[in-house]
């Protein structure tokens, strides 16, 4: 075979190289200079992110196991960007870990391998690659969730994550095996041809769907989310809620729109109800959360519910809106988690109550958080509004007006609890508000990028048009 084809895997290979480099660096960097590995990792990944934007031609490798096209490529870039921001935001935290507990460089290695898994997952051409990618993306995160060995809840969340994910992957495997049984192949494009709506393949589809829903944390497969987010380090929670969820949405979309296309009318019904359940459960639980991380966890569940409105459209419009929304969602959620990260680093406070009077001490942070929450709530002119509006448009384009109606009801509910946080920051004076502090440079860059994203992504329409063009590939 022609080795130039390997250029299709450029990003995967580059990331692998980075991981190896970091391993070597881990060995050679002396103990007292360990924190310099942060700069190294940031630098390397930054380069990687930038290089990622050079485009790659569409093709597939290994007899279709691995494939890539512009949309997938674009999505990988989105993820890169997200991870990069995430690294910027967690740099200080890791530094502190390195200095105090003399551990932390493995953080990057694990994180990157998980990202590598995601790469493989979303550009998988058959279920084997998909499965490997899935596991590779999950297991390191479980390790990272249990990263703070000193904290009990950290280990708890680790266990909850690994057990649940093991169950989920087992179930989805079982489903895959059934799909295999009906069609005799694990390759997507072959499956597409032979798949018919017999009981076995339906069961297979449902189990597979359940397995992926677990990563997107759709009701009723969402229960692990809140606990894991709460226990895990903030960076990991934000990684789970942003990167891995986004990737899972993407792959689910690919599967539904390509492989499971023959069963469309069934999974549309399925998504219809799951969307309703997810939005309501997510919102109702988010209402009464006191802990910022749990709060964001449930809000992210609700957001997943909204995303399904785009999936249900099952059209180019659907694809475009979903990708667009995920992009915006990544920025909004990263901004929110970033602020939470910064504050908990400074004061170790994570409860909403602790945020009272924040505006009067740290106006900029509170503004960032407010923008992020408004974007999540979908209030113009920040990006989230456009994302949501287009999702609803997608659903309405298929005539799901009632679903849209329920969705807007949920938007109102969600606005309530987002405003609760705003209330804490702006309206309340607070008896002992968090004192003023300046963020380190990395954190500031990380927040600024997200804010720029939140402000511009919506208004800047060519972006959406670009995504729309890319999304033609699946329909």
């Amino acid at each position: 075979m022609n080795f130039s084809n390997f250029l299709l895997m450029r990003q995967e290979i580059a990331l692998l190289a980075i991981i190896l480099l970091l391993l070597i660096a881990e060995i050679f960097i002396p103990k007292n200079k360990k924190e310099s590995i942060i700069h190294l990792a940031l630098f390397l990944f930054g380069i990687h992110t930038i290089i990622g934007f050079f485009n790659i031609d569409e093709n597939s490798l290994f007899g279709g196991m691995f494939r890539t096209n512009n949309l997938i490529h674009f999505f990988k870039n989105i993820l890169n960007l997200g991870v990069f921001i995430l690294l910027l935001q967690s740099a200080d935290w890791i530094k502190e870990k390195i200095l105090n507990q003399n551990k932390g460089s493995e953080f990057f290695i694990l994180l990157f391998s998980s990202l590598l898994g995601i790469y493989f997952m979303i550009s998988a051409g058959d279920f084997l690659m998909f499965y490997l990618g899935l596991e590779l993306s999950t297991l390191p995160v479980a390790a990272l969730a249990a990263y703070e060995t000193a904290k009990r809840i950290s280990s708890e969340s680790g266990i909850k994550l690994i057990l649940s994910s093991a169950l989920a992957s087992g179930v989805s495997l079982f489903g895959i095996s059934m799909l295999y049984a009906t069609s005799g192949s694990i390759y997507f494009d072959e499956l597409l041809l032979t798949l018919s709506s017999n009981h076995l393949s339906l069961l297979g589809m449902v189990l597979l769907f359940a397995g992926i829903s677990f990563k997107i944390s759709l009701v009723p497969f969402h229960f692990w989310t809140a606990d894991v987010y709460e226990g895990a380090p903030i960076s990991i929670a934000s990684y789970l809620s942003v990167i891995s969820k986004g990737a899972a949405v993407f792959i689910l979309m690919i599967l539904l729109f390509t492989v499971l296309q023959p069963l469309a009318d069934l999974w549309e019904k399925m998504i219809y109800f799951i969307a309703i359940a997810t939005m309501f459960i997510g919102n109702l639980f988010a209402l009464r959360q006191q802990n910022m991380k749990r709060f964001l966890a449930f809000s992210s569940i609700a957001q997943a519910g909204f995303i399904l409105l785009g999936l249900i459209a099952d059209s180019q419009l659907g694809t475009a809106t979903v990708v667009y929304f995920v992009l915006i969602y990544i920025f909004s959620n990263l901004a929110a988690f970033g602020v939470v990260q910064a504050i908990s680093l400074q004061s170790g406070k994570e409860r909403i109550k602790d945020y009272e009077g924040l505006y009067r001490t740290n106006p900029n942070l509170s503004l960032v958080l407010m923008l992020a929450l408004f974007s999540l709530a979908g209030i113009p002119p920040v990006a989230g509004f456009f994302g949501k509006f287009f999702l609803f448009t997608a659903a309405a384009s298929e005539g799901y007006y009632f679903l849209v109606f329920l969705a807007v009801v949920n938007v109102t509910i969600s606005l309530y609890y987002y405003l609760l946080v705003v209330r804490a920051m702006f309206l309340r004076k607070g008896e002992n508000p968090i004192p003023f502090f300046r963020n380190k440079i990395y954190m500031r860059i990380g927040l600024v990028i997200t804010v720029i994203g939140i402000l511009l992504l919506g208004i800047y329409s060519p972006l959406y048009d670009y995504i729309y063009e890319l999304s033609s590939v699946f329909n």
Partner: protein, 495 residues
């Protein structure tokens, strides 16, 4: 830069400058300068509109159309007709007055003025939008600052009121979104591309079933902010808790978005739906008119009284809009304007009285005419204007509404109209009650005897609002002509 986009840009620039201001002095100067410029632009717009209208007979003039999201056929599409011109002028005046009234905003002045101006951006944008999507965007931009404005600078149970207000209005706008999508996806019923452009949609005839389904949704979506019974309950609490300038802006301008939206979207785009549903909403609004007036009688908090009177007056606006003829519509728009000025004036005065006496409970006040004659005298005038005395704007508006409403032969409409008219007596009752208890009579509390006289900036704010009321009331012709000539396009749908 075209004449209309300035209405977005200038406030935006004002906000940008405000961000860098240090203290109250700078902030208020900047805000004042900004809103003065806006007022200038609004006045200029009126004249240039009249000039433009002579040569250009389009429905909307000064149109500007920039494509935004081409896949959804979303445009940044702006233009004005007589109605929006008038409402823009109203907005500019009320905003300026609001700045004057909050001249002494001690707590977080910068943020206050920023939110105020952002709100006005939303309102301006809403009035000049021709594109449903843009309109909706500006609608929500206008609503959301209310939360901070009431929540931070308000009084009393401010957090509760702010939350209630925001949720009810945003909930309404969320429902409205469904309506808008419904209209959008039926905007090509006779071929062509889907569009959000109001003028385009008005051309196509949307199937009756669709109109019947989406008219109530759209109507309610807008009417909630127009304080339609029974969705008005956000307004009394909201007004009561809001700081003066915000009450002014909210009651004076923001609540007009409801009537305007109902007219421009629900009735203009879904006329058959309007014909089909008008009876139902006429019952609601007519009831709201009389009900709000009666509810106002028993209130003791000045702001509650005014809030309920707003419910009554704005009920009249919706009532008139649903009468589906030019005279009534003209009346509705005039009523929107006159109520805008009057209620803003009321809230300004209430704010001044509260700032001096530290109470809004009429039973605790008395004999203010003796101690603060100017404010009290203007309050009497505002009261007389509000009960529809000739020579003030309210009379002109109401007469148009009633005459228009009488053009409906049907006995049902007659009864509804008589009910609505009878509200003028009840209005007189609660207005004169307040005037009698609060301004006249002996001075109840010796502490009032040495109240601070009116300050220059307060005077300016008051006059700014009082003059239009009298101007419209004495010489209504120019304004009603301005509006009347813009009503024909709306008419063809409902005939």
């Amino acid at each position: 830069m075209d004449i209309l986009s300035l209405f977005i840009v200038v406030p935006a620039l004002t906000v940008l400058v405000l961000i860098f201001t240090k203290n109250l002095k700078q902030a208020r100067i900047v805000a004042l300068a900004g809103s003065l410029v806006q007022l200038g632009m609004a006045i200029n717009l009126v004249f240039s509109y009249v000039r433009e209208k002579e040569v250009n007979n389009a429905i909307m003039v000064f149109t500007k159309d920039v494509i935004w999201f081409k896949n959804f056929n979303i445009h940044y599409n702006i233009g004005v007709d007589g109605i929006s011109v008038a409402l823009l002028l109203l907005t500019a005046i009320v905003v300026l007055a609001g700045v004057f009234i909050s001249w002494k905003m001690e707590d977080l002045p910068k943020e206050f003025f920023i939110s105020l101006i952002v709100l006005s951006i939303g309102v301006y944008g809403f009035f000049i939008s021709i594109d449903l999507f843009t309109m909706f965007v500006f609608f929500e931009i206008a609503v959301i600052p209310m939360y901070l404005l009431i929540g931070i600078w308000g009084t009393g149970p401010k957090e509760f009121s702010a939350m209630k207000l925001t949720l009810m209005l945003m909930g309404a706008s969320a429902i409205l979104l469904v309506g808008i999508l419904g209209i959008y996806f039926n905007s090509n019923s006779d071929g062509g591309a889907l569009t959000f452009n109001i003028l385009e949609i008005a051309k196509v005839n949307i199937p009756f079933e669709v109109q019947r389904l989406f008219f109530p949704i759209t109507f309610i979506g807008f009417a909630v902010i127009g304080a339609l019974f029974p969705f008005h309950t956000w307004s009394p609490d909201g007004h009561a808790s809001a700081p003066t300038a915000v009450s002014m802006l909210h009651a004076g301008v923001l609540m007009k978005l409801g009537g305007y939206g109902v007219f421009r979207v629900a009735i203009f785009l879904l006329p058959e739906g309007a014909l089909h549903w008008s009876w139902f909403f006429i019952i609601l609004s007519a009831f709201g008119v009389i009900y709000g007036a009666f509810a106002a009688i028993k209130q003791t908090d000045l702001k509650y009284i005014n809030a309920y009177s707003s419910v009554s007056h704005l009920g009249l606006v919706l009532f008139a809009l649903l009468m589906l003829n030019k005279t009534a519509w003209n009346g509705a728009i005039l009523q929107s304007l006159s109520h805008g000025f009057m209620t803003a004036l009321f809230f300004a005065l209430i704010g001044m009285i509260y700032g001096r006496t530290h109470t809004r409970d009429v039973t605790k006040l008395g004999g203010l005419l003796k101690v603060i004659p100017f404010i009290s005298a203007v309050y009497v005038i505002a009261g007389l204007a509000s009960l529809g005395l000739p020579g003030f704007s309210g009379f002109v508006a109401e007469m148009n509404i009633f005459v228009g409403a009488f053009e409906q032969e049907d006995i049902f409409y007659r009864i509804a109209t008589v009910i609505a008219i009878s509200a003028i007596v009840v209005t007189a009752v609660y207005i004169l009650r307040v005037v009698g208890i609060m301004l006249m009579g002996p001075v109840k509390n010796d502490a009032f005897l040495n109240l601070e006289r009116v300050r220059w900036y307060e005077k300016l704010g008051i006059l700014l609002l009082l003059l239009p009321i009298i101007a419209i009331g004495v010489a209504p012709l120019w304004l009603s002509e301005l509006i009347l000539q813009s009503l024909d396009p709306f008419l063809k749908g409902v005939l």
